[in-house]
């Protein structure tokens, strides 16, 4: 059924209350639109993103406040790092690790990197004893690599999504060894654990998944 708009001289679908060209009212009782579903205006505010905006603003304010207070009461200790680091880590933990749908590989990589960074900040503020990179860094790397190995084993269909990040994690796994060889003291057991985890995983990939790795590299690098 069609109504007629005298102004535009066109026939208008009877589902449209107003002429879509000139806006003239054509009917008081429009029929149901047979072509398109009726869309009602959004009557809600996206509470999730609004909360996130408030939270990120609060984070920014807290960190800025700490930096300003720390600078004005400077006693040689950048203690604001001990506040900023855990706050930023909490963001990664909640926003990425818990709430996002990123791949497990990326989440693990980010967890290892941000946790290590947080411990280095604590270590630095607490006098720079070196426990963060001597013990915590290799331990976290070993744990991260072990987790990604187990995850890939139990979630085989996702292994390709994780491959690139797992590969980066494996490379990071050799950092304690490189530091040790360049004369920086690293605790023996964590060093062995991280190097062993990396080495055994690299060997495992080369032995069992070399073709998949090659194919993945081809598509990622357009070779």
């Amino acid at each position: 059924m069609m109504n007629y708009c005298d102004d535009c001289k066109v026939y208008v679908d009877a589902c449209l209350k107003f002429c879509p060209l000139c806006g003239k009212r054509l009917t008081e009782h429009p029929l149901e639109n047979e072509l398109y579903p009726h869309v009602t205006k959004k009557k809600f505010v996206d509470r999730h993103s609004l909360t996130m905006e408030y939270m990120s603003f609060a984070t920014f304010v807290v960190i800025c406040l700490c930096i300003v207070v720390n600078l004005f009461t400077w006693d040689g200790h950048p203690w604001f790092l001990a506040v900023a680091a855990p706050v930023l880590y909490t963001w990664v933990l909640v926003y990425i690790t818990i709430l996002s749908d990123m791949s497990a590989g990326l989440k693990t990589l980010l967890q290892v990197v941000t946790l290590t960074a947080m411990f280095i900040a604590f270590d630095y503020v607490g006098g720079g004893l070196g426990w963060s990179y001597e013990v915590m860094m290799p331990l976290l790397l070993a744990l991260g690599i072990a987790y990604i190995d187990l995850y890939s084993y139990y979630h085989k269909s996702y292994w390709r999504d994780n491959l690139l990040f797992a590969f980066l994690l494996l490379l990071l796994g050799f950092i304690p060894l490189i530091l040790h060889l360049s004369g920086i003291r690293i605790a023996l057991i964590p060093l062995v654990l991280s190097t062993f985890a990396s080495a055994i995983t690299v060997l495992g990939i080369l032995r069992f998944a070399f073709r998949q790795l090659k194919s993945e590299m081809q598509r990622r690098f357009h070779m």
């Binding site: 069609m2 708009c5 535009c8 001289k9 066109v10 026939y11 208008v12 679908d13 449209l16 209350k17 002429c19 879509p20 060209l21 000139c22 806006g23 639109n33 047979e34 072509l35 398109y36 579903p37 009726h38 869309v39 009602t40 205006k41 959004k42 194919s215 081809q218 598509r219 990622r220 690098f221 357009h222």
Partner: protein, 437 residues
């Protein structure tokens, strides 16, 4: 001999990923932000759609269309398509038409098959295929759907067989096939075009206004003028835009440019289902007075020149040459995204005012035509160019769809009033609406 004939009917190679074709490379980068790169095909049937039959038909045809059964992935240097083992789900349409890529929620697929009352809708990300490729997919889907509904069907050689083999030429990047490294490349600079000003729609929705006119009556009027449908509609769009935006009284020297995509399969034989289109930009500067006859003559001549084989070849050489440039190839994807997204505003959509896509006649076998009442095609809009136009004919009707992302209806009004008042034709208007507009 065209490239696809040289190879014969061979099976596609067994790689399990696809590079994006030359035209598609840009779409993922620009669709993440301000641009809508979705087009919409809609068939109005003679009976309410049966969801379970449509779903069954979709599952059946997916193996026949490997370039549609993919998901988009990020590589180090380019995006790429990877086969998607999931099943695309048929849903009842809700929300606005021409959803942006980021709003596609369909198990990672880059197209959506939806239904609403008697309508079957396919919304497709342009990076996946052009209109011609998507129509082949949609036709096969509907053919299988009608068969499952129990109708007698005869493909008459116009529909791809859902159980047939997949020829390699359907998967090829035809731009590469016709690229001539030593050939002349297009070096024309793109002038900055005029852009339509308006108030953006609430909630980012798009208004689709379909004007349905008599095909033969319009063709007779166009032929009497000695021009093509595309030239006539493009000239009319320019005239209406100039009138509505008050360019008669402004000293704006930017031309109103209509970008007309052209299916290259007619000029360069190809059976690809991926993108194989080029654009001819036609337009004119409105200098004081809107003279429709002068605009029509200008546009018609420019369209003829722009769609010549030499010009299109030069355009292909330029685009493929750009893609093959070692410096560009080695640039990491995140840098490409930043550069493309920023520069597309200047050199891409900055160079035109509106897109006019003429999909000519929608052709279906007679047994399918008996169940299809009307065909509606549409194209998403961008923030910079908030309007565009799609023309398609079906049986004895022509449907001209104007999509707009702004509230002002002036251009649409002048456009359809030209048919109803100046040409004295019967115009039927259909479209969408939403509350709070």
């Amino acid at each position: 001999m065209p490239p696809f004939l040289k190879r014969g009917n061979c099976m596609p190679d067994k790689r399990d990923w696809y590079r994006l074709d030359t035209a598609a490379k840009i779409y993922p980068s620009i669709s993440q932000t301000h641009n809508n790169t979705t087009f919409r095909l809609e068939l109005e049937l003679d009976a309410p759609v049966k969801q379970e039959k449509l779903q069954e038909a979709l599952v059946k045809i997916m193996p026949r269309f490997p370039t549609f059964a993919v998901t988009l992935r990020r590589g180090m240097f380019w995006y790429y398509f990877e086969p998607n083992p999931a099943i695309p789900v048929v849903k009842e349409e809700n929300g606005f038409p021409c959803k942006r890529l980021k709003d596609f929620i369909n198990n990672g697929f880059l197209f959506n098959i939806m239904y609403y009352k008697k309508n079957v809708i396919m919304e497709c990300f342009h990076g996946l295929a052009d209109g011609a490729g998507a129509i082949e997919f949609f036709k096969t889907l509907m053919y299988e759907y009608f068969k499952l509904c129990g109708y007698d069907m005869d493909a008459e050689g116009m529909v791809l067989d859902a159980e047939g083999k997949v020829p390699a030429e359907e998967l090829e990047n035809s731009f590469n096939a016709y690229y001539d490294a030593k050939g002349e490349a297009n070096k024309l600079r793109v002038p900055k075009a005029f852009h339509i000003m308006g108030t953006p729609n609430t909630d980012g929705g798009i208004f689709l206004t379909h004007g349905i006119i008599d095909l033969n009556e319009f063709l007779a009027k166009v032929k009497a003028r000695g021009v093509t449908v595309s030239a006539y509609v493009a000239a009319l769009l320019i005239a209406c835009t100039a009138k509505e935006q008050g360019l008669e009284y402004k000293k704006d020297k930017r031309p109103i440019i209509i970008s007309v995509p052209m299916d290259l399969r007619g000029m360069f034989p190809s059976h690809t289902l991926r993108n194989f289109i080029s654009f001819a930009n036609v337009g004119t500067v409105i200098d004081g007075k809107i003279d429709f006859d002068r605009i029509l003559a200008d546009v018609s001549a420019q369209l003829k020149a722009g769609l010549s084989k030499e010009n299109i070849s030069a355009m292909i050489n330029k685009n493929v040459g750009f893609e093959k440039n070692p410096f560009i190839r080695m640039t990491p994807l995140f840098v490409k995204n930043l550069v493309v997204s920023a520069s597309y505003k200047n050199y891409g959509e900055g160079g035109y005012t509106m897109v006019l896509s003429n999909l000519r006649t929608a052709q279906f076998p007679k047994t399918m035509q008996a169940h299809i009442r009307q065909v509606y095609y549409a194209l998403g809009v961008s923030d910079m160019n908030p309007m565009n136009c799609v023309v398609v004919s079906y049986q004895d009707k022509m449907v001209i769809t104007l999509a707009r992302g702004i509230k002002e209806t002036g251009i649409v009004r002048y456009f359809f009033e030209h048919f109803s008042k100046e040409l004295g034709m019967r115009v039927e208007i259909r479209g969408n609406e939403w509350s709070g507009q």
